[in-house]
């Protein structure tokens, strides 16, 4: 049985086709675009909020998109345990929507960083990392100006206690350091999950690293994890997650 991915399209999303391609053409699963004005996720098994510049990044990244009609459906889907992945701007939207804790600041050096980085998978019990080895290092690209993750000391303690820090920026050997941190993110955070672990956000772009022809296929495992999670029966699927 194929897994159906819904790719949400906001005005200004620009990685929606890459996410669709990763799900449909690389993995051979089903994928559908869902416009942000829609209120139904069409029976999707997994939801992707793609990268881009929704609403031109006006006010703050993700600040306007969080009020899109589709976000109520995404919220219900997440509340029912459905897997939701926010990539880059999608991560920023999840933060603004309060589906994940924290906020983004401008990159430490104020530069828009567009390059391949190494990220370490620190938690493998999420639907987007289940197929990874613990501490597996992935080489995938980043492309952002506001990926400097910030949260309060209390919230950071909670993230650490609950093992919600899923991805960290590291060097090629898997060691986190100031030099390997491209944006000044607190404790080298590249991605986190919610307490229930079904909502994951990350700044790097796994959908841009699914084939060797584009420089790396390391990102593929993020999408394959959804299939693994579904096969393992640890995923709430369409029937029970649809509101």
């Amino acid at each position: 049985m194929k897994t159906k991915f819904a790719v949400i399209v906001f005005p200004g999303s620009n990685c929606d086709h890459d996410a669709y391609y990763a799900a449909k053409d690389v993995l051979g699963q089903e994928a559908e675009f869902v416009w942000h004005k829609e209120t139904d996720l069409r029976g999707a098994d997994a939801v992707i909020l793609p990268g881009g510049f929704s609403h031109g990044d006006y006010l703050r990244t993700g600040a306007i998109a969080r009020f899109s009609p589709v976000m109520d459906a995404v919220r219900r889907f997440a509340a029912a345990g459905g897997p939701v992945l926010g990539i880059c701007n999608g991560f920023q939207i999840l933060l603004e929507a309060g589906l994940l804790p924290g906020a983004m600041l401008r990159n430490r050096e104020l530069k828009f960083r567009c390059e391949h980085v190494h990220v370490r998978v620190d938690e493998t019990d999420t639907p987007f990392t289940l197929a990874c080895r613990p501490q597996q290092v992935l080489r995938i690209p980043i492309a952002h100006g506001e990926g400097n993750y910030f949260t309060t000391p209390d919230e950071l303690r909670k993230l650490e206690q609950n093992r919600q820090i899923v991805f960290r920026y590291v060097d090629a050997s898997g060691v986190a350091s100031d030099e390997a941190n491209p944006n000044g993110s607190i404790v080298s955070i590249a991605g986190i999950c919610n307490e229930r672990r079904n909502v994951v956000g990350l700044m790097p772009h796994p959908e841009r690293a699914c084939e060797l022809a584009v420089g790396s296929a390391d990102g593929r495992i993020i999408f394959e994890s959804v299939l693994a999670a579904r096969a393992a029966g640890v995923l709430t699927t369409a029937g029970s997650a649809s509101a």
Binding site: G102, A103, L105, N107, L110, N148
Partner: protein, 83 residues
């Protein structure tokens, strides 16, 4: 009525833009500028007849949209007189 809303990063939050600006000012010879914090400024035209109503409307939209409470705080000033 007009409300003016000033949104700034909380003191505990690092401001990369403010830091870059103060560095530039030092390069320009303004060593006396000890710190810069960058923020956002909004002018709201409100259909409100009292400054209390205006303040409460401005405060509601600041909470909901203009400021992100994780990293920012805001201050409101109300202009104009009631009808």
């Amino acid at each position: 009525m007009r409300a003016r809303v000033f949104v700034t990063l909380k003191p505990s939050v690092f401001d990369p833009q403010g830091k870059t600006i103060v560095d530039a000012l030092h390069t320009l010879g303004y060593g006396g500028v000890e710190d810069v914090r960058q923020g956002k400024y909004f002018e709201l035209e409100l259909a409100a007849h009292s400054s209390e109503t205006a303040r409460s409307m401005a405060s509601e939209v600041a909470d909901k949209l203009l400021a992100n409470p994780v990293i920012e705080s805001y201050r409101i000033e109300i202009d104009g007189t009631s009808h």
